[in-house]
């Protein structure tokens, strides 16, 4: 029984014919569902903002901007200020971004610029992405039992030799900024690496060929052609990583030491907004809950500002390096 290649020719008119009622219905349905989903996301965000903002309103009215510049958190006397927490959040996230960003981009170059066989690169990439699947609390425990004991002698030596530099003004007793930032860097590494790899992959192969054709060395091609071309994608990766670092809670609550102080030292304990929220909520009375909600609003605002700034820089680099408007 030979297959008749023209068997469906009779029905061809229905394939090329006008869309049926079902097609219209499916199309409309899909559009409606897509719109509803998009709308729901925005509605959910607005609802969360509304709820948090509503709860925070009494605290906002009472403490005003003093909340952001104050450095006392004392539910007993109802004094609330989150400057040390804002400082700790930004400091730890920036340190993590510095470490995690450099590592992430380096790994991405290693994986995407023909340094290793393509199949091996896939294995590596999967391993890096597996880091994202490790629960935050495991990172915290790992930090306590591995990172802190490893860092302690290094910190002790740095403090003994270089204590005149404010970064090393204290020694590391246990939880502190350095172990927290280090663990945070590892936590944002998969985000940064994965998106950066994709940014490199998006560059047409012709670009690299052209660079080589002009006689560049491999490093010149990577540093002067590939990196700038991928810069907007890399920046997106860094912004996402920074956002993750700002909001990270559990591992930081375990590692940063929860100390209400502003200290430049890398080894002093500090606190972050997210870990303040996590550690104070179970105990908080009504007034403190309002203050905590205010702190949550501050954290949201910081994240928003970081994202807007990231978007701005990204557009600037797109214009500068990729020649688009």
């Amino acid at each position: 029984m030979a297959l008749n290649p023209f068997e469906h020719a009779g029905a061809a008119s229905t394939i090329s014919g006008p869309p049926s009622e079902g097609d219209y219905l499916g199309d409309r349905l899909f559009r409606a569902v897509a719109r509803a989903c998009a709308g729901l996301i925005i509605a959910l965000l607005l609802f969360i903002l509304w709820e948090i903002g509503g709860l925070a309103l009494p605290a906002m009215a009472q403490h005003g901007l003093g909340f952001v510049s104050g450095s006392t958190w004392n539910p007993g006397t109802q004094e609330f200020g989150v400057l040390p927490e804002i400082w700790g959040t930004l400091y730890s996230s920036l340190l993590a971004l510095l470490l995690g960003g450099v590592f992430g981009v380096t790994i991405a170059i290693f994986l995407s610029q023909d340094f290793i066989e393509a199949r091996l690169a896939v294995v590596f990439r999967t391993i890096v992405e597996l880091l994202a699947a490790i629960p935050s609390v495991v990172y915290g425990l790992w930090g306590i039992f591995v990172v802190i004991p490893l860092l302690r002698p290094v910190a002790g030596w740095l403090h003994a030799q270089l204590s005149f530099i404010p970064l090393f003004a204290t020694d590391l007793s246990g939880p502190g900024m350095a172990p927290a930032a280090l663990v945070l860097a590892i936590m944002i590494l998969p985000t940064v690496a994965a998106i950066t790899v994709d940014a490199f992959r998006r560059i047409p192969y012709k670009v690299k060929e052209a660079a080589y054709g002009m006689g560049t060395t491999r490093w010149e091609a990577i540093l002067k052609v590939m990196l700038p071309t991928a810069s907007s994608g890399i920046l997106a990766a860094l912004v996402l990583g920074f956002g993750r670092a700002l909001g990270e809670t559990m591992a930081l609550a375990m590692l940063i030491g929860n100390s209400n102080q502003i200290n430049l030292s890398l080894f002093a304990p500090a606190n972050t907004l997210a870990s303040l929220l996590a550690s104070s909520f179970p105990e908080a009375g009504q007034i403190e809950v309002q203050a905590l909600m205010y702190a949550a609003v501050v954290l949201l605002l910081i994240t928003l500002l970081v994202n807007i700034a990231g978007l701005g820089i990204q557009q600037y680099t797109v214009r500068k390096f990729e020649g688009k408007v």
Binding site: W73, N74, G76, S173, G174, P175, G257, N258, P269
Partner: protein, 357 residues
């Protein structure tokens, strides 16, 4: 199980979390036997929590009419929930202030149920032997004025110890705590600088000197355990259970004393002898006895003066009476101070005044 799968079938549209709660509600606690007549819920201090859990576990096993549940949460939380009347009884290491008592219309009875000592536990690897801390020194450590372990004032009283050249990292409670109250009440009474210029007395304070904070006694103990060069205040039995070294403190008479149950009990007995207030809110911020451990504190159960249901009041009375008698022997074995007889007698007396409105 059958009910559960029924719920799943009918509730496909419901979000997963709601579903889980529904199932959780259906499957009752497998340990529970026939329904109990009465359930008494309490919350508060974490310091006596291991003791109370042990008490109520034994008490629940002994009889079937009453089931007592204790939820911990810290003294601040205990007082808050007691004032909100969401519990049948509270527990606090700081008793309740007059202002707090005034908020409870049903009246408040403070029943001392056990006692403990606040110790300074530290973590100095390589330092073996007894660490002595004079009164002015430990105040200044928590004020941030002494910030190195090799400070001359610490070396002067510990000539035999090889103290490291490390920074002192203080560890304190971040939640409202009776332990904090007992400790700062003591510091205020021995140091005018602490009372007037320093943070003063309270269940929750703004600590100077970049202190690390932990939630609950166990949180502070954990932070001390993982931080070299740290020192913090916790209840005695948390330190001994985790094997943390405990500093020997100088008392009012000038002797250096290690905490132990016997000296704690004698301290309380002498203080109650000297004058027990009518509401049983006895604080011993700085005992005079020559061998008294300086920071000893009672821990109170908070009961309402009246309960709408008389059987609830009767059940509570019988639980607490049990705790004040059989319970005290258990307290000694768990590292708490068994209450002296004169305090027990007064507590039993006050317990009888609880009744219907």
């Amino acid at each position: 199980m059958i009910r559960c799968s029924g719920v799943i079938r009918t509730a496909t549209a419901v979000s997963f979390s709601i579903l889980l709660t529904a199932c959780g509600g259906e499957s009752a606690d497998p340990g529970a036997e026939a329904p109990r007549g009465l359930q008494l819920v309490g919350a508060g201090a974490t310091f006596p929590e291991p003791l109370y859990q042990d008490w109520f576990r034994r008490y629940n096993a002994q009889q079937t009419e009453t089931r007592v549940i204790y939820e911990g949460g810290g003294s601040g939380e205990g007082v808050r929930r007691f004032i909100e009347e969401t519990v049948d009884f509270g527990a606090s290491d700081a008793a309740m202030s007059d202002a707090q008592i005034a908020q409870v219309e049903r009246g408040v009875r403070l029943i001392p149920a056990t006692a403990g000592m606040v110790v300074l536990a530290y973590n100095l690897p390589g330092v073996e032997g007894e660490l002595r801390l004079p009164r002015d020194v430990y105040v200044d450590i928590f004020l941030g004025k002494i910030w190195r372990w090799d400070d001359p004032r610490i070396i002067a009283v510990n000539p035999d110890l090889e103290l490291p050249s490390r920074l002192i990292q203080t560890v304190v409670r971040r939640d409202g705590s009776g332990t904090t109250f007992a400790f700062t009440n003591h510091l205020s009474s021995i140091s005018p600088a602490w009372r007037d210029e320093g943070p003063g007395t309270g269940t929750i304070l703004n600590w100077p000197g970049g202190a690390m904070t932990g939630n609950g006694n166990e949180g502070v103990a954990h932070k001390i355990k993982i931080s070299h060069g740290s020192i913090g205040y916790i209840e005695y039995h948390f330190a001994s259970r985790l094997g943390l070294p405990i500093a020997t403190l100088e008392n009012k008479a000038g002797n250096f004393v290690q905490p132990d149950a016997d000296s704690g009990r004698r301290t309380l007995e002498a203080a109650a002898e000297a004058g027990m207030p009518a509401n049983l809110r006895l604080f011993v911020p700085d005992p005079d006895a020559p061998h008294a451990y300086p920071i000893t504190s009672l821990s109170w159960l908070l009961l309402y003066g009246s309960y709408p249901e008389p059987e609830r009041a009767a059940a509570l009375q019988s639980v607490v009476t049990w705790g004040l008698n059989e319970g005290q022997e258990i307290a000694a074995t768990l590292g708490y101070i068994p209450l002296p007889d004169n305090i027990l007698a007064r507590a039993t007396e006050v317990l009888t005044t609880i009744g219907a409105p």
